[in-house]
Amino acid sequence: MSQEVLELQMPPAREEPAGAHHASAHNAGAQYAGAQPGGGRYASAQHAGGQCFHCGELCRAASFALEGRSFCCLGCQTVFSILTASGLDQFYQLQTSPGVRIRASSAAAKWKFLDDPSVQEKLFDFADDNKAKVTLFLPAIHCVACVWLLENLFKLHPGIGKSQVNFARREATITFAPTEIKFSELAALVTSIGYEPQLTLGETEKAKPSPLRKKVWLQIGLAAFGFGNIMLMSLPFYFGLDSINGPWFKTIAGWLSLAMALPVVTYSASDFWLSAWAGLRQRVLTLEVPITIGLAAIYCSSIVEVASHRGPGYCDSLTGLIFFLLCGRLFQKKTYERLTFDRDYKGFFPLSVVRKVAGHEESIAISRLKTGDRIILRNGELLPADGCLISGKACMDYSFVTGEAEPVQFDAGARLYAGGRQAGGAIEVETIKPVAQSYLASLWNNEAFRKTTDNDFDSLTNQYSRRFTKLVVGIALCAGAFWLFKSPATSLKAFTSILIVACPCALALAAPLTHGTVQRLLARLKIFLRNGLVIERMAKVDTIVLDKTGTLTMATVGGIVFHGNKLSHEERNWIVSLAKHSTHPNSVRLASLPGAAALPVAAFKETPGCGVEGDVAGHKILLGSQSWISNRLDKVTHKADGTAVFVAIDGKFRGSFALENTLRPEVEQLISKLQGRFELALLSGDNEREAARFEKIFGDRFTLNFNQSPADKLQFVRELQKAGRTVMMVGDGLNDAGALRQADVGVAVVENTGAFSPASDVILDAAELARLPHVLAFARSAARIVRAGFIISALYNIIGVSIAAAGLLQPMVCAILMPISSATIVLFSCGASAWAARRSGLISQPHTSIRQAAEAVTQPETLLQPS
């Protein structure tokens, strides 16, 4: 049965099906990191081309095959056999090529540290003798099939119980019996099917999710209950029908309304009371202060009215107001939750490290690493603390720290700084500083990172609310004083009804809704904002500082120039065939050169950090660094600037491939659009070899600085700010982190949004870089929309306050005016933001209409969900 099903699922022609596109988008980061187990074996496999049945990625010329299906690597093939053997092949029915490309084969030893009780204590949600529950963050979760597979995990091992996936958070909560399957084995199992848990220091120290979310829902539900039922009883009064039932109806309805409104005022609105109180204690007039004054005024005057048999009170307006305010808050919270990306630098550090003690190796938690420990770093592992190289050949990739793309080689005895990533064979390092004091950590502990970015004291809303409160209280006092002389009976009524009607609900809704809509619209374009305040700051930006490496240039495609004796088409083909066997970034780039079908390679050998060699079509090919080729052959005098791969064929040096960091195609257009409006500057950690190229693009009006260390970049931004400028920093990685944080708006340009995101204010998908001017224009429109919302709210307030000051406020006027002002603001904020997005050129398709923006408000789930 399952066999037939699979036959039906055999990829037909596989000309880029939707699923494949999907999978490849999610695997962009893994693209070149994929392990190629058993390098030399490629040559023997006959399968050519096609897409991997498991992950949908294009298979290299020679690939793995099983049951008539081709796979890109042994990992994918293994997952396929595990799944079919366990009867889980429905996985492949749910989506075409739903799998995740399998990276390095998972060694169970890697997870050994998870059996340490102190680590388990941090990670487990619950544990006793025969049951443990753990929530794992699995970033690879990306589609329906993932959810299905992970929730059927129990079929893979008898020790696993129920597992439940939270798709939005990319988490799986797994119950298992530690007596039957150790935690480390569970982690290895989950990794083996393609979902490597991401366990980092940051993750373990993270507090467990609080039950706050439940409280928010309960508050809203209670407010909706009160609002609906009180409205029902108030309807007769709006139409003057209450007298039909007799005078007692008014009293009963009044007391019932008061009773239903009590939990709404106390429980549902508790957050407003608390933050108003906290604001008052710090002597800050936050928005909550006038809101709570209004709430208290409405409830107290309702009690007086009902008790004195004068009317049914204003509980309908009161509960409606609280309900709308809470809806605005929920919308805001949902937006934040969905867009949370503020990761700590600790997230980039590994959780465990291999320590060498008395000749044997053990895996320990990084927090237990001490100065003087000997640690083993393997290919691709990050050095967690400064250290001294004991043995092995270090080839450290410091692109996180310095921005230089080329790995630096070190010999034994050299001092290595934290944050470097080893490329090549295993090395042994003795740590000379504890984890916290190392270079990277000190950069991140810089003052700039401690700046509380969420301090919204100066946000537009708070500026307006301070004035608003003073103004309203002033008017109320004046009106009260005026009536005191003219007609003392009206005095108190006028005073309280001004406080009632001037409730700044529209003020409270305008900014969150506009910002929320903007964030959602941008998120659809893979532009993520930390929070709404970023929009306000973005609207004020007048200076843009750009980083070069990884931001304006990209290292992955094209830009390969050959210097030396011209290569024949055949020779070029040999080189490409050889390069395809290595995962080194330079080899991967060479392998992307156009060539005929790859030829088989014999005697392939990779010397990590130096080069690759092999026999292609009977010719000995060497690809590698200058020093390595020089050592193998005669001295090579040929010079090359920048990143270069040297080539020798049959023992003769032939020349070098210069691998230029190519400019992103949209850069020139981007600069020309930005330079009219903003002051620009370019900072680069790289050397000056490309200075001329950038001078041509930027013109001579702007600053171009090369050889900049992370500290220089930070200092540069700080100087600009001292000169009174509002700076936006556009950078790519951890090496810009200081400047990104210091800048008023830090924009991180990333190739893969899931993979790497330093703590910045905005995360921009590299493909969307050209949209930056539009985003800035959109931010300015959004700030204007918020102001316009305030004006609308002010108009309603003027009408309401005039009626109230005249002493004529009726419950019905109140019940109509307040919901209408809230509704107008909701529609205006969402509609105008969507319109502004289209006008600023961000969204060109006509389908993004106000209707969609409204849907975005009502269905917050639909937006970030992969389609």
Binding site: Q90, L94, N130, K131, C143, V144, A145, V147, W148, E151, N152, F154, P158, G159, G161, K162, Q164, V165, N166, F167, A168, R169, T175, A177, E180, R213, K214, W217, L218, G221, L222, F225, G228, N229, L232, M233, N245, G246, F249, I252, L256, E861, Q865
Partner: protein, 58 residues
């Protein structure tokens, strides 16, 4: 006129029942994750029942 009282009581009690149901649904965690169930339903395999799970977890 007392019919109005009965109507109010009836509507209120229905409202309270729904409020109770809502509170129960929030407490039982149904609002914790509103995305995954919409995906889960797309897989036609019945969800694993506790009895199907091979080990007995106390």
């Amino acid at each position: 006129m007392s019919i109005v009282i009965i109507l109010i009581l009836a509507s209120l009690s229905v409202g309270l029942v729904f409020l109770g149901a809502f509170i129960w649904s929030v407490r039982s965690g149904q609002y914790e994750d509103t995305t995954t169930p919409s995906l889960r339903i797309l897989a036609d395999d019945p969800q694993p029942k506790i009895s199907e799970i091979k080990i007995k977890l106390k």
